[in-house]
Structure formats: C-alpha cells, structure tokens
Amino acid sequence: MEVQTQTEVQQAPFVKRSALLYKLKKNKLTMVGAVILGVIILAALFAPLLTPYNPNVIDAANKFQGPSWAHWFGTDEVGRDIFTRILYGARLSLGLAIVAIVIAAIVGLMIGTVSGYFGGYIDQIIMRTMDMILAFPTLILAMALAAALGPSIQNAMIAIAFVKIPVYVRLARSETLSLRESLFVKSAQTFGIHPFRIIRKHIMPNSVSPVIIQGTLDVGDAILLIATLGFLGLGAQPPAPEWGAMISIGWKYLLDFWWYPTFPCLFLFLSAGALNLMGDGIRDVLDPRSSR
C-alpha cells in the first residue's frame, strides 16, 4: 500500500502538467496565438536568411516604393526595405519586452519573498511603497521615468521593468506568507539556518511558478508599452528599426504612403494579440472560474 501511495505522489506533477498542456491544446484560440507568435519569433531569429536587405542601409533612389515582389511591405522615406526592418525590429521589440519582464519578475520575486518572510515593519514599508507605485497609471509613470532618464531604448526598458515590479512583489509575497507556515520552512528554522538562505533555497523555488505565469501574461503588455514609448519619442531612437519608432515617423506619411506605418502596426498588433490569446488560454486553464 505504502509503495503505491508514493508512486502516486511522484506521478502527480507529471499528470498535472500533461493535463495542462492537453487543455491548452484543446483551446483553439490559444493555439492560434501560439502559432502566430512562433512564426514571428522564428522570422526574427532567421531574419538574415529571409531577406537580402540590410535594415539600416539607405537607398535614396528607391524611397517610398509601394509593396511589390522586391519589397514585400514597400520602402520608407530613405529607401530602406520595411519588411526587413520589421523582422530586425521584432528582435528589439520582443527581446526588450521579455528582458523588461524578466527583470521585473526577478526583482519582484526578491523583494516579495523578503517582505513576506520577515513581515512587520519591513513588510509594511515595502508594501505601502508598492501600493504607491500601483496607484499610478502604468503608461504615464513609464513615460515620466523614461523622460527623466532620457529617451533611449535601454531607459524605456528600465522604466517598463520598474512599473511592472509591484505586481510580482504582491504575488511572491502572498505565496511566501503561506510557505512561511509550512513544515519544511519551520524545520529549517529549527536548524538555525540563516533567513536569507531559507528564502533562497526554500521559499523562492516554491513561489516561482505563479510569477512565471504572470510574466507570460505581461509580455504582451510590455511590447505595447515599449512601442508606445517609441512612438512618443521616449524609447528607441531612429534609425533603430524598433516598431514604435518606425510608426512614429511613418504615421506622418499615412495618407500618401499607407504601407509605411501600416505594416509595423500590424506586426505589433499580431504579436501583442498572440500573446494575449495565449495568456487568456493559460488563465482559463488555471482559473476554471473565468472560462465557464
């Protein structure tokens, strides 16, 4: 009997994970999102193989060409191929969004676990500070930070990471509060293990999964934020092929050369939409209440 119980316990995570994947696969819209995102990521990775052009080389003779076989999405005001720039821009837009969220998640996890583990004054101060940041419109805080740091793509990324931190702090803290009372933490305390070692070895690994899930949900939002900062002139600066920066120049030509702002916008919409569809699917599977 005992042996049987043990195998059951060991199998449980495996069964759970495959059930999760199965449910995700059953959700058609989620799969559509995954496929769209996969294609965009592959295209970004293999950009040099997919296009013969360089994203930054100026070719004034070919400026404002409409979409054709030579230039699928047309060319911009100095003759650069827009398709090429979108592919290389995907590296910037997606890459920076992911890095921003990873930074926010790691910092949030560290602050949240410490806050939850120690409680008391430390917890109060940290959580009230987080409330303060949360009590502020995300985009406007990111704008203020990016403007204060000076417009550049790294600073836009830092600004976005900063405004996203409180969400992860709250998540990690609430996980820590319940972990703190669990037997393995209590016994570790009895052995006199240093609190930071307990946090690092026992609390963090066990509170990381909700943080990862929240992270996947947030990447789509981060892509839009980066592009919006770029559009407002607070993110990537021309001639970087970042989507928001391309649109911020391109939209002035909208009525005469519709393809210039339209295609970067379309890709921005597709990647954010794909990520949101996937996030929706994950949420449905994990929280059955929302999908009923």
Binding site: D131, M132, I140, L145, A227, L232, L234, C265, F269, A272
Partner: protein
C-alpha cells in the same frame, strides 16, 4: 466609511510625495541640460549660469526637491521652460479638453461594453461569445496609435466624413467659456454651429480612446454575469416566471456590477495613458499633447506638473469608485 476616505486621502499624499521624489531623483541623471535648452544654443557661459540660477538648477538636488514641494503645497508647480508660463495655468487651460475627451470615451465604453458583456454571457459559447472575445482581445492588443491611424485613414483620408485635427473648425468661434467643455458650453449658449463642429471633431478620438476600456469592461461584465447566471436566486427568479430585460438587469446586471466597477476604476488609468497617445495622434489640444510637446523640450516642470495632476486625479477617481460600492450594495458597511 469616513475611515476609508481618510485612509485614501492619506495614500494620496504618499502617492504625490513618492512619485515626485522618484521622478526628481531620476531627473538628476538626465543627460540634457534644460538651462541650455531655455537660453538657446548661442548663449554664452554667463547667460547659462544666470538661467541655471533662475531655475534653481545650481542648488543641490535635495534643496531643489524641498523647494518644489514647498511650491506644490501652495499650488505653485513651477514655470514651464517651453511656454514660459506657470505650469498650473497651462494645465488649467489644457485640462477641459482632456476631461471632455475622457468623459465621452468613458460613456462610449460603458454604453457599448455592458450590453456586449451581457450578450456574450447569455449566449455563451455561441458565435456572439466568440465574436465578443475576438473583439475584446483586439481591444487590449491594439496600440492606441494604430486604431487612431486606422480611423484617420478611413474616416478622414478615404471617406472624408470627419476632420482629424483639433477641437473645432478654424472658421467657427469656440462657444462662450463656461466649463471649457465645448460640447456642454455650446449647448448652454445655444450655439448650434459650434456644437456640430465640436461633435464632429471629438467623435473619432473619443471612439479610439474608448476602445481599450471597452474591451476591459466587456470582459469583466461577461465573467461576472456568468457567475450570477448560476446563482440560486437567479434560477428562482426564472422559475417564478420573470424574464426578459427585467430579469437580466434587475437580477443579473445589478449583482454583476460590483466587480465591474472595480475594473472600470482601474482601467481609468489605461484611459488616461491612452489619452496622451490619442491627443498626439489627433492633434487634440489637451494635457496629453501638452506633456508630449514638453518632453521634446526637456521641460521638466511641465512634465512634473502633469504627473502630479494625473496622480491626484487617478487616486480621487478610485476613491469615487470605492464609494460607489456603498450605493450599489447596502450590505457593505466597513
């Protein structure tokens, strides 16, 4: 309830204090020099020093911050480097335009979002539900500038139905100033021409701005309606022969509204952020456009003033949202 209002107002003080502190510290490492921006490129060292002194930039950062906070308490947000006028005066001039746009967008989002959410919940897993899901996903995935550009391209570029810039036609006199909201003012003064012109101007940006919030509201109404539809009292109502809109509104919507209101309050932040972009795209002369123009000039007092203004507004809106719970559900006491 008084306790809650007091706590919120205390938070407001902290928000303003914290946000100004963070922005202030960060601005200390700003690469550009606002003084040289103001004095012009050909200014010599002496003039630069003078301007710096005039702006208080020669003092240590903490003194600068203390001075700023002191001014803030008396309603002095400093002088804009770009317009050379007090920031507060500038913001008061631009505020009504933003307010008018935000209010209209908010109403569009509610008027369409709530029925759409109910429809999606009642017709769960049918064509209507899927359509509303695709609609809401595109709502939160579409950057405001893209929906703005699309709308301008179609309704201004191709069809030519609506203007794409400003609040009112150049030839039309703005209505007599009462509230600063053109639609309201022109109605109050019976100025039909001005009303028509400002309505034509505000419609496109308001629709674009409402899109994201509309999506959030629809989604929330659907989720909370689904929950209510399975409650005992709802089934009892059906069993008692109650049906139609009365059933859905009195028994369904009213109970689904509390979580929705929370989301509406939170999403107001997205609306304010969206207003900055919408105003830029449509050349709408509001606070958002003011701040974007200021950024290009490294006009720090203007940016700070805007940030403080918005943070106060946002916390107050969320306070109103919390107070509305008491109206909706008398059971909630403390």
């Amino acid at each position: 309830m008084t306790k809650m209002i007091f706590k919120r107002l205390l938070l407001l003080v902290f928000v303003v204090f914290g946000v100004t502190l963070i922005t202030f510290i960060l601005s200390n490492i700003i690469p550009g020099d606002p003084a040289s921006m103001m004095a012009g490129q050909r200014a010599n060292q002496e003039t630069l020093e003078q301007v710096r002194e005039q702006l208080g930039l020669d003092q240590p950062i903490l003194t600068q911050y203390a001075n700023y906070m002191q001014g803030l308490l008396t309603g002095d947000l400093g002088t804009s480097i770009r317009t050379q006028k007090p920031v507060l005066d500038d913001l008061i001039i631009f505020f009504p335009a933003t307010l008018e746009l935000a209010i209209l967008a908010f109403f569009i989002a509610i008027i369409i979002g709530i029925p759409l959410g109910i429809l999606a919940a009642v017709k769960k897993n049918t064509f209507w539900d899927h359509a509303s899901r695709i609609f809401t996903i595109s709502g939160i995935s579409t950057p405001v500038f893209w929906s703005g550009l699309l709308v301008i391209f179609i309704f201004y570029g191709v069809l030519g139905w609506f203007p794409a810039n400003g609040r009112i036609e150049m030839q039309v006199n703005p209505p007599t100033h009462v509230t600063g909201l053109y639609l309201l003012d022109s109605l109050l003064s019976g100025d039909w021409v001005a009303f028509q012109s400002s309505l034509r101007h505000i419609l496109l940006p308001a629709i674009v701005l409402s899109f994201a919030q509309l999506a959030i509201i629809t989604r929330q109404v659907r989720a909370s309606m689904l929950e209510v539809l399975e409650k005992e009292y709802f089934r009892t109502a059906i069993a008692n022969g109650i049906n139609g809109p009365y059933l859905l509104i009195k028994y369904g919507l009213r109970n689904a509204l509390i979580p929705t209101i929370t989301v509406i309050g939170v999403s107001f932040g997205a609306l304010l952020g969206g207003a900055v972009v919408t105003e830029t795209v449509f050349g709408w002369p509001g606070m958002g456009k003011y701040v974007v123009d200021s950024i290009a000039y490294l006009d720090f007092p203007a940016m700070m003033g805007f940030t403080v203004f918005i943070s106060i507004g946002y916390v107050l809106i969320n306070l109103i949202v919390d107070l509305s719970y008491y109206v909706l559900n008398p059971q909630i006491k403390e």
